[in-house]
Amino acid sequence: MKALLRWNPTLILGQFAGLAIIYLIFFLLGVPASFFSMDNTKLVLVQTVIVGVGALGMTLIIIGGGIDLSVGSIIALSSVTTALSYKATESLLVAVPVGILTGALSGFMNGLMVVTLRIVPFIATLGTLGIARGIAKIAAGERTVNPPDSLLSGLMQFDRGGPFYSFPPAVWIMFLLALGVSFLLNYTVFGRYTFALGSNESTARLCGVPVALLKVSLYALCGALTGVSGVLIFGQLTLGDPTVAVGKELDIIAAAVIGGGSLAGGEGSVLGSLIGAFIMSLLRSGCLKMEWPNPVQEIVIGIIIIFAVAIDQLRHRRASSE
């Protein structure tokens, strides 16, 4: 039975415990009761979507032993290309694939640089961070792209007071994608190879894992998921903004790491990363309800990231000394 659950149950329990602790802390701090309401939870979930979908791709890359710093810029670029193609064609059937492909292509370029030029992922994607942002600004003519209203703008809206399952479509999209990525990681050869690559690249190569191909696919896949984030942000803002999502890559990486991902590779889980993303939004919501100013929020979130990772390290050390 344990084999069925590929993830380590204690690891996931840890993330849920973290979630519970955050609720408890805000409760003790005397946060308004509306913080715990179903509507607020849904709102937090909606606010999780952009980082959450991005974190799915990041989880893949981090498990494979890499990192992608360019996702924030790729979100902006995708939102711009989605907006531009919707403005030109007024068809979502064109605009949405264009947005996702923009992300996939950017990711593909990242992978190609890592594999052929043998640049460490940190640097390669740092370069892309600048390049993608620049292209987005040029493509948009250094201002926002304002296409006519589309169906996408409804993705993040939900009825207050509706039944508990009445999530807005964007949340369902996130859940579905999460299921897909989770399946990919745990129930396909591709997933097994990804864990092997992240745990020890030399071993993966020795065992005949097509390392280069796998890396390029991982970056491209992460790019595609980031593209989805870009499309969703376009829907949320109803415009393509080349300056959106600056610094989002850090939120996304933090979500994956809070969720149990190891930057050394070979570890991480989809559910964990989603919880990580949710925790980040929850903190923002809590700080808002407490009417703490923005800078305080930033400090609180920084502290939480450090603690989450420190606790994780502690658990790892104990697990390996057993």
Binding site: K2, A3, L4, R6, V115, T116, N186, Y187, T188, V189, G191, R192, Y193, F195, A196, S199, N200, S202, T203, A204, R205, L206, C207, G208, V209, P210, V211, A212, L213, L214, G266, E267, S320, E322
Partner: protein, 516 residues
């Protein structure tokens, strides 16, 4: 130093049971035992990383209770770690004085430092090592010596060495032994732990043999023989050490012709038959590993033929593009052709140690557990439980990470991968390096059984008794060139060594692999 009745248990397992031993000034005491016998635990207690549950430790009659490795060092007990603990980017000087910089109001006193460091190097007979070189530019052997010098600069009276030679060449080992002898003369006591019994015999004065957390024998090394030591270590006789599994050579399975790597090997030919174990001896650096790795596609190839006879395809072609695009694809092809490889570097290349046993065993062949593209973990769980039993791996479950296993059990996983893959040709690079005696014997039997099933084995080893005890035919490599391949009974250990080190050998015909 004297140890009386030291015990230590972890949970329900008794790691050490009432160990007593004495270490006299200027003596080298060898501590031998299989993995899991309790050596590491004892060392950790001595170096302050663990505390004993019971028993007392004294140095010069004074109670010795180190609370940490740092404190142990201050009390004159220094441990030289297996994995070297130097800072590669700092210089020799900086490393030797790391943590004990002599300061005057926070300002480093350069001249004092130099004096201390130079004296430490002199004491181990290595004054020629340049103090201003970065440590990463030194050879592994020199780094080891610098580490010892660092311990000496801290006024260590007792040095604990855990497998100090496992990454050294024969020549470097000589150098290290010379340093150890110098230190003994200066009254420093050495506690020496090694799997290489030949070395233990050479450098040790006395030996204490541990088995299952107990001290089972103790004696002067000039009165003990290696078979006796092994007998004490494993609790049975050495006859079972090289189990004989009868096997017969069959048809040729692999043909290697004129194989050249970028540097090594330099034109090697070899024919391998089913049901046969071929040994390749020689010194470290002779190109033996490169030979196996080039066959397997892990090292770059200049030219040559690697042909699995059945398929007639030359596996050894490589274009720059294929290296770029399907990195690992070359090796994938080897596995598909029935070749399998065990790396000499278990931790860094052979195994993904943070992943589970099952994952490591099955990585090359996931197909049996895949239906319509969907991987079924529980199917593998069952199959791997069976493999673990067959391979005799001591563990709790196939889901346990490999890093939690002992070296011997890890190696069984690395070797088991080839059996799980059902590879026809097993390329083994130092398959028993640094593992315990019982696991060695177990691996020898698995290798013999593989040959009996009609698999072919090519085994590189620096351990002569193993080459002679396990192989059917033997060749020696020197500077990238392979000697004649002859049946083992036609070789003597002396001839092997002579070919391995000779500069121009007229006696032994150098033939690029004429069949013996």
């Amino acid at each position: 130093m004297s140890i009386r009745g030291v015990s230590k248990s972890f949970g329900s397992t008794q790691a050490l049971e009432s160990i007593s031993l004495d270490l006299y000034p200027g003596e080298a005491l060898a501590l031998v035992g299989e993995n899991g016998a309790g050596k590491s635990t004892l060392l950790k207690i001595l170096s302050g990383a663990h505390t004993a549950d019971q028993g007392e430790l004294t140095i010069d009659g004074e109670p010795y209770l180190p609370s940490s490795p740092m404190r142990a060092r201050e009390l004159g007990v220094a441990m030289i770690y297996q994995e070297l603990s130097l800072a590669p980017h700092l210089t020799v000087l900086e490393n030797i004085l790391l943590g004990r910089d002599s300061t005057l109001f926070g300002i480093l006193k350069r001249s004092d430092e130099k004096k201390i460091a130079a004296r430490a190097l002199e004491r181990i007979g290595q004054p020629h090592i340049d103090l201003n070189t970065q440590v990463r530019r030194l050879t592994p052997a020199e780094r080891q010596l610098v580490e010892i010098a660092r311990a000496l600069a801290g006024e260590a009276r007792i040095l604990i060495m855990d497998e100090p030679t496992s990454s050294l060449t024969a020549l470097d080992t000589r150098n290290l032994f010379k340093a150890i002898r110098d230190l003994k003369e200066q009254g420093v006591s050495i506690l020496y732990v090694s799997h290489f019994l030949e070395e233990v015999m050479e450098i040790g004065d006395r030996a204490v043999i541990l088995r299952d957390g107990r001290s089972v024998a103790e004696g002067n090394l000039n009165e003990l023989t290696i078979p006796e030591i092994i007998h004490h270590m494993i609790g049975r006789d050495i006859d079972e050490f090289f189990p004989k599994v009868p096997h017969q050579p069959g048809e040729t399975i692999l043909r290697v012709e004129n194989l050249e790597g970028l540097r090594l090997p330099r034109g090697v030919s070899l024919e391998v038959r089913r049901g046969e174990i071929i040994g390749i001896g020689g010194l470290v650096g002779a190109g033996r590993s490169e030979f196996l790795r080039t066959i397997f596609g892990l090292d770059p190839l200049k030219k040559g033929l690697v042909q699995v006879v059945k398929s007639k395809e030359n596996l050894a072609h490589s274009s720059p593009l294929s290296a770029l695009w399907v990195d690992g694809g070359e090796i994938r092809k080897r596995w598909q052709a029935g070749l399998g490889f065990v790396s000499e570097d278990r931790k860094n290349e052979g195994l993904a140690t943070s992943l589970s046993i099952g994952e490591n065993l099955s990585l090359t062949r996931l197909k049996p557990y895949t239906q319509r593209g969907i991987f079924l973990p529980w199917k593998r769980y069952q199959a791997c439980s069976e493999w673990i039993r067959k391979l005799g791996i001591v563990c709790r479950s196939p889901d346990q990470p490999v890093r939690a296993l002992s070296g011997g059990n890890q190696q069984k996983v690395a070797f088991g991968r080839l059996l799980h893959h059902d590879a026809d040709l097993l390329l083994l690079d130092e398959p028993t390096r640094g593992i315990d005696v019982a696991s060695k014997a177990h691996l020898y039997r698995l290798i013999g059984e593989a040959a009996a099933q009609g698999k072919a084995v090519v085994m590189v080893s620096s351990y002569l008794p193993e080459l002679f005890g396990v192989c059917d035919r033997l060749a020696v490599m020197r500077k990238g060139i392979l000697s004649e391949l002859r049946p083992v009974p036609e070789w003597t250990e002396e001839q092997v060594m002579r070919f391995a080190v000779a500069d121009n050998s007229t006696e032994i015909r150098i033939s690029g692999g004429a069949l013996g």
